[in-house]
């Protein structure tokens, strides 16, 4: 088995992650009143290909995706029964910040 596949465990000594290269998209989701929207699901789409994971916004409505390739991206926000999008072009090694305002009030929704 190659080193690439060598199994590592969370029980091992401190597995502090190394910094990964690439661009990043971070931002905040706000409700119609401007208040941060908690627990909205945020995901990315891109012609560059993206990891199909979704992030929940925190109490402050923020999210962040890193280790991205340059390309055109869509930030998708899903909340309650609605959705919102932001389109942007990402450059190599750059941090891009977006604010997405939805039609919903910023009280979030119930956890599953």
């Amino acid at each position: 088995m190659s080193d690439e596949h060598r199994s590592r465990s969370s029980e091992d000594a401190d597995e502090t992650p190394k910094a990964v290269s690439g661009a990043a998209i971070s931002g905040v989701v706000r409700g119609a009143s401007g208040a941060p929207l908690r627990n909205a699901l945020v995901s990315l789409d891109s012609d560059a290909g993206v990891r199909d994971i979704a992030q929940k916004t925190g109490d402050d409505g923020t999210f962040r995706f890193a280790n991205l390739r340059a390309g055109r991206y869509v930030v998708n926000v899903h909340h309650g029964g609605g959705s919102s999008q932001a389109h942007l072009t990402v450059d190599e090694q750059q941090e891009h910040e977006v604010t997405i305002t939805t039609k919903e009030e910023g009280h979030g929704h119930e956890d599953v």
């Binding site: 088995m1 190659s2 080193d3 690439e4 596949h5 060598r6 199994s7 590592r8 465990s9 969370s10 029980e11 597995e15 502090t16 992650p17 190394k18 910094a19 990964v20 990043a24 699901l41 945020v42 995901s43 990315l44 789409d45 891109s46 012609d47 560059a48 290909g49 993206v50 990891r51 199909d52 994971i53 979704a54 992030q55 929940k56 925190g58 999210f63 962040r64 890193a66 280790n67 055109r72 869509v74 998708n76 899903h78 959705s83 389109h87 929704h109 599953v112």
Partner: protein, 297 residues
């Protein structure tokens, strides 16, 4: 090849027959079927499709999804050629009960959602980027595993995992070629749900086969309902599988599985969406060996 096919919890004797069938003709395509899901019909030839690039048994067909032509279209969603995903109506049934919604709580306080699937009584397989997120503290603090979640209904309850496995290449380099990992539970929840068989199959066995994906997309029901979709595997390379199966954020870690004469065999782990194609980590001999170790730990 026979050492690279695991047994599932479904009908152990029948699984043994299946294993022989695969070993007998490793250079031949498998006769696979789309799962029989009410309301789902695999689209016909008129649906937008990727161009298929021919290759030989051992050759690298494409180096990366970006190398695959998709005409002049530039789609900004990974739901390709129309959205025909269907919800699973009864997640208590096989194989849907093997599949789990994941709720990841990271060490920096952030939360993510993903998908996993049982490969053993205490072991849940998923994407590497679901169990080790580089810019959010690495290994999570905890992941809640909810098999067969159907909106608010949890037919098998849930379990919280605090022990995780991932390959060195993912942890050190975020290498897409080794984007896979596992959650180790303390309770044998998989004893109640059952678990997938998995196999490291040849290019010939994978090419043009009907593959199934089912998981928890974030654009539907807040990632609380399982959605299914199936298409043909279009490309393989030594470490990745490429397909135009509709996916969305939240489905990372979903099983890519075949139905061969009623036997479900996972052959990959969905990781990546894109406008040109979606792709996942292929279960190779190295991946298989780690999975087999992790399921027995």
């Amino acid at each position: 090849m026979n050492e690279h096919l695991s047994r599932s919890s479904e009908e152990p004797r029948a699984a043994a027959v299946f294993e022989k069938a695969i070993v007998a003709e490793p250079a031949q395509p498998l006769a696979t079927a789309v799962e029989d899901v009410p309301g789902y019909q695999k689209p016909g030839q008129g649906t937008a499709r990727l161009r298929v690039i021919a290759g030989d048994e051992k050759g690298i067909l494409v180096r990366d999804a970006a190398d695959v032509a998709f005409g002049n279209r530039l789609l900004m969603e990974s739901v390709i050629g129309g959205d025909d995903r269907v919800a699973i109506r009864d997640t208590r049934q096989l194989p849907w009960r093997f599949i789990c919604a994941l709720r990841m709580h990271m060490r920096d306080g952030s939360d993510f959602v993903g998908t996993g699937w049982f490969i053993g009584e205490k072991t849940v397989m998923t994407a590497g980027h679901c169990v080790f997120v580089h810019d959010h503290g690495g290994f999570p603090e905890r992941i809640e595993v909810i098999p067969g979640l159907d909106r608010t209904f949890r037919p098998f309850g849930s379990a919280v995992g605090r022990r995780f496995r991932a390959p060195q290449g993912w942890i050190d380099n975020a290498d897409t070629n080794v984007d896979y990992g596992a959650i180790q539970l303390d309770t044998p929840l998989g004893r109640r749900t059952g678990f997938f068989a998995f196999g490291a199959l040849s290019d010939a066995q994978l090419r043009e086969t009907d593959a199934n994906i089912s998981g928890y997309p974030g654009d539907r029901d807040q990632a609380s309902r399982q959605y299914f979709h199936a298409r043909t595997i279009q490309q393989t390379n030594p470490t990745r599988l490429f397909y135009d199966i509709d996916t969305f954020g939240g489905q990372s870690g979903s099983p890519i599985f075949l139905n061969v004469s009623g036997r479900r065999v996972a052959v990959g782990i969905h990781t990546t969406g894109g406008s040109r194609s979606n792709s996942g980590t292929r279960i190779t001999a190295d991946v298989f060996n780690n999975m087999n170790t992790w399921r027995n730990e």
